[in-house]
């Protein structure tokens, strides 16, 4: 059991899958290393936020995930 990355919206298309398991522990640098090309670029963008186990992070660079955690990558939303 590693860290589960969940890709929302257009990020799922870039990832080619809705989620992906990576080995923990995982910090912001490790996350970017785990994301290939366009997906990593998107993750760096100001409009993409991160949630760790259902809590949105105020500062993405403060990510600290361990095995069993879920990290969601949240691009700009659009509802209604």
């Amino acid at each position: 059991m590693g860290v589960k990355l969940v890709f929302l919206g257009k990020l799922a298309d870039l990832a080619g899958a809705p989620d992906k398991d990576v080995r923990g522990p995982l910090d912001w640098r490790g996350l970017l290393d785990a994301l290939p090309g366009p997906l990593g670029e998107a993750a760096r963008g100001d409009t993409v936020r991160l949630a760790l186990n259902g809590t949105v992070l105020a500062d993405k660079a403060a990510l600290g995930a361990a095995d069993g955690d879920e990290v969601a990558l949240l691009p700009p939303v659009s509802g209604g």
Binding site: L8, A12, A51, G54, V77, S78, G80
Partner: protein, 147 residues
């Protein structure tokens, strides 16, 4: 009183409003907004995705914020997720209040937030395939009114 639902199946504005109205006999006025998949243009289908750990909890917080900001008897937020086709209702917002101005403002506040500040991701299928939708400039402007 708040009635907040994330709906995986059909959203029935008529039934929901009948129940909401019956639940608020004390309200002098009820405002509702129904948003539908527009059948004009060339949109063939629409898909709404959500993120379970965030979406419903965020809607509940939005309902609380709406109740805190205006003098309301109740607020209703129902939002679809999943696959939709043109003409399907996507969202229903309602506010019941003693005074109509409160109800109108509260419904707009809730709707502006559901549109561009709630945990939904929407994509549309047209002749050239699926495309993810981002809020319009007008949606951001509508949201900025409340800050």
């Amino acid at each position: 009183m708040k009635d907040v639902r994330l709906l995986h199946g059909d959203l029935s504005p008529g039934n929901a409003m009948t129940a909401f109205s019956a639940a608020h006999p004390e309200a002098g006025g009820i405002v509702s907004f129904v948003g539908k998949v527009r059948p004009d243009g060339d949109v063939e289908a629409l898909e709404l995705r959500h993120y379970a750990p965030l979406t419903l909890a965020g809607m509940q917080q939005l309902a609380e914020a709406t109740l805190a900001r205006w003098r309301l008897d109740g607020v209703l937020l129902h939002h679809r997720t999943g696959a939709l086709k043109p003409g399907d209702p996507i969202v229903l917002v309602a506010a019941a209040a003693r005074h109509r101005r409160d109800a109108f403002e509260a419904a707009q506040f809730a709707m502006d937030h559901l549109k561009s500040d709630a945990w939904f991701w929407k994509r549309e299928k047209r002749a050239d395939g699926w495309r993810w939708v981002e809020p319009r400039g007008q949606d951001h402007a509508d949201l900025a009114r409340w800050t």
